[in-house]
Amino acid sequence: EAGVTQFPSHSVIEKGQTVTLRCDPISGHDNLYWYRRVMGKEIKFLLHFVKESKQDESGMPNNRFLAERTGGTYSTLKVQPAELEDSGVYFCASSPAGLPTGKLFFGSGTQLSVL
């Protein structure tokens, strides 16, 4: 069974540019999460999709960040325009529907560097 896939694995962009990260969750997983880890700090929650609907987007830093999950399959996270403080590792995670255990399956992450 394929795991959670994220790409690109690395992205280096200049301040003011746009970057789009993609996440393919495990097939059949209704729950999809985006997290971010900045400079060795905690893995911080960004938002949660249930199928194509945003269940909780309380962690999104500001309106420069836009997440979508068309058709309830893969998800994209766009940062426009990127700022220096957006640098970090962006993780996507998924979990099956109706599984209240909190077990998350993580992708390998996208290392974003904004110069």
Partner: protein, 110 residues
């Protein structure tokens, strides 16, 4: 205010020793406490987890100790091996959202 505080930031242990990582939380609504293990270049992977109605859970060399009254929980790795060298994150879940600690980088020296 960080809801889950993890310590130490880094830990060096000799092979065969015991590794102990501690976490403390504030939110009493947390109802699930997992530990994740992350190797370089990989995403975090669930290692072991506990619910607040249990004081201890053991899986192989890994044990979680949970103190509900103190709002603390810890991971113990017995007979630590070089292959255990990784970053460990504690987490706590509330209403479907998981909150993580800062992570502990464990190095096990041969």
């Amino acid at each position: 205010q960080q809801q889950v505080k993890q310590s130490p930031q880094s830990l060096i242990v000799q092979k065969g020793g015991i590794s102990i990582i501690n976490c403390a939380y504030e939110n009493t609504a947390f109802d699930y406490f997992p530990w994740y293990q992350q190797f370089p270049g990989k995403g975090p992977a669930l290692l072991i987890a506990i619910r607040p109605d249990v004081s201890e859970k053991k899986e192989g060399r890994f044990t979680i100790s949970f103190n509900k009254s103190a709002k603390q929980f810890s991971l113990h790795i017995m007979d630590s091996q070089p292959g255990d060298s990784a970053t460990y994150f504690c987490a706590a879940r509330d209403a479907g959202k998981s909150t993580f600690g800062d992570g502990t980088t464990l190095t096990v020296k041969p």
